[in-house]
């Protein structure tokens, strides 16, 4: 912890943290190797001891983002074991929360800022692990009739897409205010998921019926 040590101790992770802070404070455009080094209190060439180039650091930051999502999802699965429908809603909400809490970290993680992702096996691995968690939730929902039967990975893609699209739309305020004034983000989420499920989710569906009246 002492700041004067010549050797930092855990600069590799400190740089990731620094990067995340910069993203939170000044956004994607402000993320440079030099700024990250500055934030970590280290000379601007020190990062090269741990990352071959800027892309490598970005990949590490994105990987950390996925790890955060993974932890959130795992937690939801554990917490909501009793109710698959609730699992689905809370998983979706966890995703959106990440987007709202740390928009630019979210962006760098999920919006393809990292260029040749295949060069970063840790990133690929955690992203696949996360997707499998989503598939797992989908399958639980299918077994209890919350979601229709069918290839669970395909349905997972649909649900993931919905979340993946909803987040930026709300975040960038691309949804008109006539809607945002009427509904909270969570309500919009539940209504959207409701369109895909065969049973009503909690809270109530704002007049949406699965059969015409």
């Amino acid at each position: 912890m002492s700041k004067k040590k010549y050797h930092h101790g855990d600069l590799k992770n400190a740089l990731i943290e620094a990067g995340i802070e910069i993203l939170a404070k000044d956004g994607l455009g402000a993320l440079s190797l030099r700024e990250v080094a500055r934030q970590a209190g280290v000379s601007h060439t020190a990062p090269y001891a741990h990352y071959t180039d800027k892309q490598a650091l970005i990949a590490a930051i994105a990987t950390a983002g996925y790890e955060k999502l993974y932890a959130k999802l795992a937690d939801v699965i554990q917490r909501c074991q009793a109710s698959p429908a609730q699992q689905l809603v809370e998983a979706g909400w966890a995703y959106l929360e990440f987007a709202f809490d740390e928009p630019d970290h979210f962006k760098i993680t999920f919006s393809g800022v990292i260029e040749k992702e295949k060069d970063y096996p840790a990133f690929v691995e955690i992203s696949q692990k996360s997707f499998k968690l989503v598939v797992k939730i989908i399958e639980t929902c299918q077994q209890t009739g919350v979601l229709p039967v069918g290839p669970s990975d395909l349905i997972a893609v649909s649900v993931w897409s919905l979340l993946h699209g909803l987040a930026p739309l709300i975040l960038e305020e691309q949804i008109s205010h006539t809607i945002l004034d009427r509904y909270t983000s969570k309500e919009i989420l539940v209504v959207s998921l409701n369109l895909m499920t065969q049973v009503k989710l909690d809270p109530p569906a704002f007049g949406l019926e699965t059969e015409q009246t």
Copy 2:
């Protein structure tokens, strides 16, 4: 058309075109005012006669993107008047096609690269007009029982989110190959939309049933 004229004639639009070409050829990172001017065959300060700064040009390029989408949607509505379900699918496909054909133009248009969108009324206007077109399609689908009843603008947000999320997921190859090998992009789209609709869309739904078997 003659290249030697001192006055360009329509530099304002030419710069937008140049920007779109740069996005197509070298991507978002290569889009600079200087490069745009170069591409348009004009000195690097000439753009300032037409745009107050870089953001203003980006806003104009994004506006052009929305105009393209608007035209596509309007065309779909006209072409598929007979079948609301087909309207829905084709509208979705039009959106995805844009993403696949011009990924970076798509990105700059829909992914919040433009910072203070409210400063650009033309952008706001065309984006709202486009959304209204989506709402219109949704309402047609509701009237024919393809989509459930309920607030059409809310359902439009759900559908828009789905498309908005699906595009980057496919584009950045964030969907695992075990899925992409089995289904085309259009099939994934139809299956996803099918989850939201009350009737089966064309082509067949790959084993997805709305009731459990």
